[in-house]
């Protein structure tokens, strides 16, 4: 149960350096075998958005949103550029305060929600350190003991095909490599909910396919995936349900097969045909 109990009071304050000792002394975690099966801890779902608006300076960019994200297969958010997908993910992840309405985790472990989620941003932000150190840093913040960090980090790098670059400066990676590292860092945390903002936007076809498979595996192992993508083929392959956004609003929410066969919404139909402009 890697993250059942990520020492939330601790994980942040002294995160890696001091918190480590405590973990080492504490519960010996049956990590290795369990990790392959990848059972994420912390029951924080569902996530409920009620009347959520994001309207800085009076301009409504997102809203109003009222919806609930439940456990289950991947939720894929689709929509044109500027539809508000990235903002919606940020609102859900708690990085943005809605200007109206509430975002609430409803599960029993809601108090630990911060430690049970991770996000991969549309533009990867990498720290000025080595590839490996970037992943280790995330683990340190979650209170994973110092001894365990390198192995877990390498495992995540291996999964994303970055293991040969572990020692390289993260800032010199190519855009696609940076995106994979960003995913590796998030995945190493074994989040209960993983937000992915166009995780394959910069990837070549093969890498894109590989990352897609990783995402599918993460989802299958029990992590709730909430992602955006402009790759409709990928959306078809991954999505369990689709949220279709247009100009800050969710116009349609349907099970994936239904959405791709016959969207209810006019705008969604145009979008799928590649005819919808902003």
């Amino acid at each position: 149960m890697p993250f059942e109990n990520p020492a939330p009071e601790n994980g942040g304050r002294d995160g890696g350096r001091d918190g480590a000792g405590e973990n080492e002394a504490g519960t010996p975690r049956a990590r290795n075998g369990a990790r392959a099966a990848h059972p994420p801890g912390g029951d924080i779902l569902p996530l409920r958005l009620e009347g959520v608006c994001y309207a800085p300076e009076g301009r409504t960019l997102v809203g109003e949103l009222t919806l609930e994200l439940r456990d289950g297969g991947p939720t894929v958010v689709l929509g044109a550029n500027g539809a508000g997908k990235s903002l919606t993910l940020r609102l859900c992840h708690g990085l943005l305060e809605p200007t109206a309405g509430t975002v609430r985790w409803m599960g029993p472990d809601a108090a630990r929600a911060r430690w049970a989620q991770a996000m991969v941003f549309q533009r990867p932000v990498l720290l000025r350190r080595s590839v490996l150190a970037n992943v280790v840093y995330g683990l340190a913040l979650r209170g994973v003991s110092r001894r365990e960090r390198p192995a877990l980090a390498m495992e995540a790098l291996r999964a994303t095909g970055l293991e040969a670059m572990a020692g390289r400066q993260a800032r010199v990676l190519s855009a696609g490599e940076a995106q994979r590292l960003s995913l590796a860092r998030a995945w190493a945390l074994r989040p209960r909910v993983l937000f992915l903002d166009e995780p394959t936007a910069n990837l070549d076809p093969a890498a894109s396919r590989a990352v897609e498979e990783i995402i599918a595996a993460i989802g299958a192992a029990g992590t709730k995936i909430v992602m955006t993508t402009h790759d409709l083929g990928q959306a078809r392959r991954l999505a369990h349900e689709v949220l279709f956004m247009h100009r800050g609003r969710v116009l349609e929410r349907s099970p994936a097969p239904q959405f791709f066969q016959q969207p209810n919404n006019e705008a969604a139909r145009a979008f799928l045909k590649g005819e919808l402009l902003w």
Binding site: G12, G15, L95, R128
Partner: protein, 235 residues
Amino acid sequence: MEESVHAFREAAWLLFSGDADLWEIVWLTLRVSLTAVALAALVGLPLAGVLALYRFPGRRAVVVGLNALMGLPPVVAGLVVYLALSRSGPLGGLGLLFTPTAMVVAQFVLVTPIVTALARQVLEDLWREYGEQLRSLGASPGRAIFTLLWDGRHAVATAVLAGFGRASAEVGAVLIVGGNIAHVTRVMTTAIALETSKGNLTLALALGLILIALSVGVNGLAFLLRDLTETRNAV
């Protein structure tokens, strides 16, 4: 003309002859300025981090105030510390006036705004880039500031070096609170001022050469660090 050539030759000789008085002055200068800068960094860098991360009422005033204090004339800093430490001042009981400690305090007052203001700029830019990611990973503010300082260490070190350059080169503050007492509070800049006025150009020139070397060294180091930052940040 001949006189100054002669003075130069004498000064060079003084530098290489291991003159005890001269090196005593150099040593005190380094001790005072390095201590002042170390304390300024200890206070200024966390403060810079707080200013970079938090938005609070009055923050703008603090930032403007710090920027204004960067140009504080050393004599004014000296005067303020003098008033505080003089016998009738609030800290007069400590008996610190005309000691190296008083000089450290004066330079600390002078340099802290410089270190803080320059570092704040660095950390704020870095936070703009890192902020969401660090918050997403669950970094506490303290941890985030530490991360910013570490990842921005080359640029932050440049800010600290700027503080050291300012401290080691100023005359006014140390003169007022130190008094330029031989073997006690005489540092390079005050010695140069005094020896020049006495017509003893040899010692003044020798010290001047050391100051120039120090300044070149510090700037070279800052330049190197900047280079390092740029290659590291190459995307």
